[in-house]
């Protein structure tokens, strides 16, 4: 896919927009598996931040060498993309929806917020970042949701962890972020919810069993195919 736009939107966080050459029927919560240049052998799973009008957007953080290599792609270059993959978020029956995102967990929730907003839901969003330099998509999210920004050091918005600033009114939640955050939410919240999970992947289509996670009732499932979104309580968060 051709790079349409590629920019740093906050410290070490990049937003890349690609032109889909083919029909690309995706929904919020799904991800793509992106090829990075040699000597990297494995693709990188990244959540879709949006898909519409023949373009997809992904937001990623430069974590290791593969994502650092990806930053070299310039407008007009091509990126090999596999997807859309995995399941999306199941849209709620409930009216008051809380989104909880940590860092690069925010982008898929932005897309979800947009859909929920369209459906007339009341959406609140608690977005956690390390510090003010890392904050992104605040303004974009405010179009669809009541936003609380939380930073570890209080340098922007509230101070502390997202779990301190949750919306007590919500009757369902959607969370995307590091496992400790997902775990803390499960423990703290009595309402139903959905977790979007991360695991290291090989194939990303369910064929290699790299990305297994244990369910509470039915052995192992694959994050890539049976997830990445799981209803709260379905899997044992590692």
């Amino acid at each position: 896919m051709k790079v349409v736009n590629h920019r740093e939107i906050s410290e070490c966080t990049y937003e890349i927009t690609l032109q889909t050459d083919v029909f690309f029927p995706a929904e919020p919560g799904q991800f793509v598996h992106i090829l990075v240049d040699p000597p990297h052998q494995l693709r990188r799973p990244l959540s879709l931040a949006s898909s519409s009008g023949g373009e997809i957007t992904v937001v990623y953080k430069t974590f290791g060498e593969g994502t650092r290599t990806l930053t070299n792609k310039k407008r007009g270059d091509t990126v090999n993309v596999l997807g859309p993959l995995g399941n999306g978020f199941t849209l709620p029956e409930q009216e008051k929806v809380m989104l909880v995102g940590g860092g690069v967990g925010v982008p898929p929730l932005l897309w979800l917020a947009k859909e929920l907003h369209k459906d007339g839901k009341k959406v609140s969003a608690v977005l956690g970042f390390k510090s003010v330099n890392q904050v992104f998509y605040r303004r974009e999210m405010e179009e669809y949701a009541e936003v609380t920004v939380v930073t570890d050091d209080g340098s922007s918005g509230e101070k502390g962890l997202v779990t301190k600033w949750l919306d007590p009114e919500a009757d369902v939640y959607y969370a995307c972020g590091p496992n400790p955050m997902l775990k803390a939410l499960e423990a703290q919240l009595a309402i139903p919810g959905y977790n979007s999970m991360e695991e290291r992947m090989g194939c990303a289509i369910g064929a290699c069993f790299a990305c297994t996670v244990e369910t509470t009732d039915d052995g192992y499932v694959n994050v890539c195919k049976d997830g990445p979104v799981f209803p709260k309580g379905r899997v044992k968060l590692p």
């Binding site: 040699p38 494995l42 064929a207 290699c208 990305c211 195919k225």
Partner: protein, 300 residues
């Protein structure tokens, strides 16, 4: 240009098949292309009882390669036959079952159940990722001979033995397996490796070590096949880092009669049909008029 290869139990219309464990039981890749494009399919390892496999992380990336420590996760031979194989039976292509176990009995039990449903068995005596059930058989010629002999007694179909590269003398292992009655060899399984997560000061994979695969190991696979070829008269299915039709030709020249593609499927899910489409042109470029003509070509 004929891509056909005739091997014990296997009439292959072309020599390209997925490597065990990289293709599950076919369903996922069938979304991308018609599986009947392939020469055959080698299924994920089956064991007598279900296995949960190792804890995650199960994979890591290395320079031109990857490490995996899946640990033989599978639903057990019965569920594979009843739950997974019906899908594959909708295709005409030959099926090879990869079987593993912790004891000769486990191997024979699994082989007995599996062999009526497939065209060949691939005996996995080389899985480096489980405490029991694999590599100890693959690094000792006596243990290997014994398990091959026992499986041969119960199998209705030809038995290929998948060798481990983690040995001092691959030739000795190959010859021991042939003498024990193996109908063919698969070479190579992964090389044991490790990556350390510097942040946590411990091995990245939960299993600590994992099997190295991908282009990084291709020169080792080529060397081992080249070393073994003159010493055995049974055919070799070659694997280890194959990602192009040129790679396939290199394996054929080294002495492989057919090849399996593993890691490259993760890189590019269309890689096998692409290789099969490219193969006639590549063979022609290098002056060959069939696959069979190229087999062992570097030895003459």
């Amino acid at each position: 240009m004929s891509l056909r290869v005739h091997l014990p139990g296997l009439e292959l219309k072309n020599p390209v098949m997925p490597a065990s464990g990289c293709f599950s039981f076919g369903k996922e890749y069938a979304q991308f292309y018609d599986l009947d494009t392939l020469g055959a399919v080698i299924m994920k390892a089956a064991t007598k009882e279900p296995r949960l496999g190792n804890k995650t992380p199960r994979v890591a990336e290395t320079s031109s390669g990857m490490l995996n420590a899946i640990g033989l996760q599978n639903p057990g031979v019965d569920k594979i036959i009843n739950g997974e194989m019906p899908f594959l039976n909708g295709y005409a292509l030959p099926k090879i079952a990869n079987i593993a176990g912790s004891s000769p009995e486990e191997y024979t039990e699994t082989a007995k159940k599996m062999s009526p449903h497939v065209q060949a068995l691939e005996l996995n005596i080389s899985c480096p990722n489980v405490k029991e059930g694999g590599i100890q058989f693959g690094t000792d010629p006596h243990l290997a001979s014994n398990v091959v002999r026992q499986v041969k007694k119960v199998s209705e179909v030809p038995v290929y033995v998948k060798l481990s590269p983690n040995v001092t003398d691959i030739r000795e292992m190959a010859v021991a397996c042939e003498q024990a009655g193996a109908d063919g060899l698969s070479m190579i399984n992964t090389i044991t490796g490790m990556q350390i997560l510097k942040e946590r000061r411990r091995p990245l994979l939960h299993n600590q070590t994992g099997g190295l695969s991908g282009p990084a190991i291709k020169p080792v696979a080529i060397r081992m096949i080249y070393e073994v070829y003159p010493y055995v008269s049974i055919p070799i299915i070659g694997m280890g880092g194959i990602g192009s039709a040129e790679d396939v030709l290199e394996f054929l020249l080294a002495g492989a009669s057919a090849v399996a593609v593993g890691t490259a499927n993760f890189h590019n899910p269309f890689v096998m049909p692409e290789i099969i489409a490219d193969l006639p042109g590549v063979l022609r470029n290098y002056g060959f008029s069939s696959v069979e003509e190229a087999i062992g070509g570097a030895h003459y």
